[in-house]
Amino acid sequence: MEITTQELKHCDLIKVTGRVDSSTAPAFSKALEKANEAGHFKIAVDMSELEYMSSAGFRALLAAQRNCKRYNRGELVLVAVPVRIREALELAGFTELFKTFGDSITAVGSF
């Protein structure tokens, strides 16, 4: 798993690639928390090169979404969710908790 964070004018674009499981999810959580600690609550998570995500990754997304949406100060959205990961998110009933966008330009533009 690799994470790159880009601080843009209206939101942070966090790209997570590779595989997120119980071993790598803590680093993913940390990247999301770091954005929040910097006072950034508008976050787009780019999943276009994500190969795999288990419920450990879902947990990280859920915690970040709660933190972002608190006091209506922001939101976390998902970008280019690969089909297998989308199916797992659907199975977990998670798709209704996150807005999703097909590409990062549209997602960034939504903030």
Binding site: R19, L91, L97
Partner: protein, 133 residues
């Protein structure tokens, strides 16, 4: 195949399952499901059965019989029965959403059958099966 009961080995466990499933003619979608179910099962064993234990082992088998793939996981940790885990409320609001129990829920949804046996002598045995197609 025996793996150390550590999260760092989840990758290898998923690869082990995928290789056998691929040879068994499962589709990529089904292979992803099998990997996710095995990951969630192994994660629960590492997290709950081996809670506070750093040198535990996990014995994983994966076999095709006819058009069915059977995954077993054996551990010698504390009994952890996935069927006793409460089903998460998948309709709850963001603030009430519980993440606990999600792994077990996914295992049950992704596999055709999930069985659990605990034996004080031989340890815990989780058996999961999925039909191809």
């Amino acid at each position: 195949m025996t793996f150390p009961a550590k999260f760092e080995f989840l990758d290898e466990i998923r690869e082990f399952i995928a290789e056998i499933a691929r040879k068994g003619g499962f589709t990529e979608k089904e292979i992803y499901s099998l990997q996710l179910a095995a990951d969630e099962a192994a994660t629960n064993i590492i997290e709950h059965a081996y809670e506070g234990v750093s040198n535990g082992y996990l014995n994983v088998t994966c076999d095709m019989v006819g058009n069915r793939l059977t995954i077993t996981m054996r551990d010698t940790g504390k009994p952890f029965d996935p069927s006793k885990v409460k089903q998460p409320n998948l309709k709850a609001d963001l603030s009430d959403r519980q993440i606990g129990g999600l792994g077990v829920y996914l295992m049950r949804k992704l596999m055709d059958e999930v069985r659990y046996e605990s034996n004080s002598k031989t340890g815990n045995l989780l058996t999961m099966t999925k039909r191809r197609g």
